[in-house]
Structures are given as structure tokens and as C-alpha cells.
Symmetry: C2
Subunit: 278 residues, 2 copies
Amino acid sequence: MLYIVGLGLGDERDITVRGLDAVRSCSKVYMEAYTSLLSLGLDPAALANLEKLYGKEITVADREMVEERVDQVLNEAADTDVAFLVVGDPFGATTHTDLVVRAKKMGVEVKVIHNASVMNAIGVCGLQLYRYGETISIPFFTDEWRPDSFYEKIQNNRKLGLHTLCLLDIRVKEPTWESLARGKKVYEPPRFMTVNTAISQLFESYYDIRFKDHFLPAYGRDTLCIGVARLGSDDQKIVAGPMEKLLDVDFGPPLHCLIIVGETHPLEEEMLEFYMIK
Amino acid sequence: MLYIVGLGLGDERDITVRGLDAVRSCSKVYMEAYTSLLSLGLDPAALANLEKLYGKEITVADREMVEERVDQVLNEAADTDVAFLVVGDPFGATTHTDLVVRAKKMGVEVKVIHNASVMNAIGVCGLQLYRYGETISIPFFTDEWRPDSFYEKIQNNRKLGLHTLCLLDIRVKEPTWESLARGKKVYEPPRFMTVNTAISQLFESYYDIRFKDHFLPAYGRDTLCIGVARLGSDDQKIVAGPMEKLLDVDFGPPLHCLIIVGETHPLEEEMLEFYMIK
């Protein structure tokens, strides 16, 4: 049996009782590191805390391992109980659909243990979850690569009065271009996008495409946004305000995300008041 | 302190370790019954199981109590630690934003403990969560009341190629019209909408409005849909197929929800294959 266990958003105590029982019953425990490295990797004690609560050793599975050695994990799961831990929900922002498809094709039984993810915990801001449109991802721009496909999606959401959740880029264990050319991988230091960088890039996209035909502003300096850092942790930070003003707010350590607010209802506005920048 | 604790989607073991610790430390424990009555109320042992795990007596707070006596709960929370339990996530499908707003206005400290909700656990179907548009609610039609505002929302989502999550009506402790007229409340038996009723009503709306100006079909008999029952429970049921074919599938006990599928990617299709009706 392969248990895919969501760990939730905070620390080791955000696992569910069902998830904890499953992990404790497994003979092998892997943890997906792609999204978790930043939250856990910055605090070396975090992994030890997980191992202590579970009473199990954890093998951290980075992106390469998940992609290249997944068959080994699945073979183990065919014979014995294996847990694969995922920050947030197994099907939250980062998908593990591929793992499930492969397991099912190999005839390995899969049990998913759900937990909170950014996709629902973001409700804490006070905006109703059913009033969000398509979720977008904002990647780090480079000199050569400045994709702006998110612009049209934000515009579609805003035309319908809907809120837009922006997931911000995480770069963990990315090989450098130089090292790939030399044939021996050297990795970039991990990077995560701040709310401030995201907003700068949104402004850049705006200026990049404003001379296109049929340009309609999807947002501007005064568009109400909410910056969120460390959602679900004890020290989460939520600040609402005009896009331009959030540029200067220090949101602190990762992970960050951003909401571009659509049309609001009075109850949403009451809640936003508590987070509004002074 | 007021702890608003998400219980997740399955049974008592879906609470998080953090949530369990909080509940055990509280002097008073309330449970919101509006959405939970159907899952728990159908199984009288369920409440007892919660109380046993928590080692606490639970006061079930129905909708009237939450609306009328919330100040009493908040006054208690000003003096001591009070837990308010919510099925799913505190800010999932049913919102508790109002409770938080009132608490903050009274100066009562609030701590939210997140958990899975339908809004993220629905990812188990294999459709990517960031490819969903606005979520809709389908209410029970009556002879006099057949709202169809959801039709346009589905259409907007489908024009953009997005999936639509349909939350289906739950009627718990609704006073009958006759009893309201007599001035003494008598309650309707609890009702929940099945996938089958939802699809019938979608077809009814289609026929109701097809003669309107600018009518564009948002869906039809062959539109790919996914019916989901008891999401996150051990006996969850997921069946995908053309809308018309799902009309005859028995999804069993509540709660149900429905997804109208938009444009799909190959990985989504691979996953859907496992659920496809034969």
C-alpha cells in the first residue's frame, strides 16, 4: 500500500491523526522535498521534529529522485506499506497525480490522506473561496524569458469580478545552465519569490504588453491586493492594500503568495479591514 | 481564546494533531452542525467517537444557535479557551468569516486550525485545482423557485476551458412554511441533494432558458462530468462519464458534489480513465 499523506501547512503537528497512524504503521517513509525544502530546509530542526513525532526515519526525496526513482518506491509499496509525505494536500498546489497514475497502473493500492493546502487555507483572508477564478502561477523572469500568459487569466477573472490567487515561483535544486553545458550538474541556491517581486513583475508585464492591440488594463497601481506569507503557520502575515503600497511591505521568510482582489461583498470587506495597510 | 478547528472530511481521526491538542486544552467545545449534521447525524455513534477521542463533551450548535447565541460563545471565549469545531476547513465551503469578524470586534483572540475541505480534496479526481473556475452552488428547485444564475457561471468557466465544481444543496433544520405561518417552528427532515438531482436540475435549467436571446449551450447530455460522494471518507465514490449517463448511477449516502469538466490535459485524462463509467 502507498499512503500519500498531506502534512498541512505549519509544522509537524499539522498532520492528521489518521495520517500519523498511517505513517507510524509504514516500514518506509519518504518525504517530497520539492515544495517542502524551503519551509523545512531553512530550519534543520524541522525534519528532526517530524522524525521524533513519527518515530520513523524519513528519506527526503528530491525532485530528481521522485522523477527518476519512482519505480523503486512503487515496487516497495507493492510489497509493504510505504508513506509518501507531501507538504499541504497531496493534490494541492503541487500535484502528485502522476504518482497515483503510475501506482494504479502497477496495481499498487493507493490511499490518500488529505490535509489543508494553500488552495483552501487562503480562505483565512476573508475572501469567499467560491469567488475565486482560475489560479495563476508567476515564474521568475529572466532577461530572456518573461512569459506573460498569466496576464490574460487575471483579466478574465477580473472581468467576471472574481479573485485571483497567484502562486509564486519556488526554485529548489535547479541545475545551473553552465553546469548543464559542462555535463556535471551544479545546483542553484534555492529561491522563492516574494510578494514584492511578484508585484514588480506584474507591473513589468503591464508595461511590456500595453502597446498590444486590444490592450485592456487587468490591474493597476491602485488594485486591491493581499500579500500572504507563511500561511497556516503561527507567524503567518497577511497585509491588504493597493498593489503599489504592498511593494514596500516586508513579508519576511517564505513561502509567499498574492491575491488580486475582485469584486467584494460587505462581509469580505469587513474581514479585509483587519488586514488593511495603515 | 477562540479556536476554530477544522475536522477534515472523514471521521474523528481526520482532525490534526494541533487541532486535537487545542480541543483537549479547551474548557468548552462546540460543534457546528449545519453541514455536519448530515454526515454525523446519520450515524449516532459518530459524535460519541469524537467525544471519546477528545475526552470532552461536545455541544452541538445548530444554525439557529450559531446565529442567535454567538455572543454567548464569544463571551465564554473572552474568559477561557473555547473550541468551535467545523467539518472540513473553517473557511471551506461553508464560511465562518462572520464568526471571526464578530470575535475580532469584541477583542476575542482567534486561532484558526486548518484542515482539508472539498475545495482542495476534490483534487483527488485528477483535475488540476488551478484549472477550476468559479465554484457554483445548486439549490433545490421548487415549483415556484427555480433560480438559474449558476448557468451563466458555468458558461463563463467553460468558455475559458475551466472546470466547474458544483456544491449541492444541504437543508438541515429548515422550518416548514406552514409552521412559520402558525408561529411555531416545525422542521423539515434533513435533505441533501444527490448527483442525480443536480444533473436533472441542470437539464431543467437548460430547457427553461434555451429560448432566451443569445442562448449558448453551456453543457449538454454528452458533457463530461464527475460525480463524487463522501469525498475523503474510506467509502468515497467517484464516477466520471457523460452527464446523461451519471443520471442513473447510485452514489449512495451523502454528501455529494459534481464537477463539470472543462478542457483536459493528458495527465488529467489518464487519471479520469480510472473513474470512467463502463
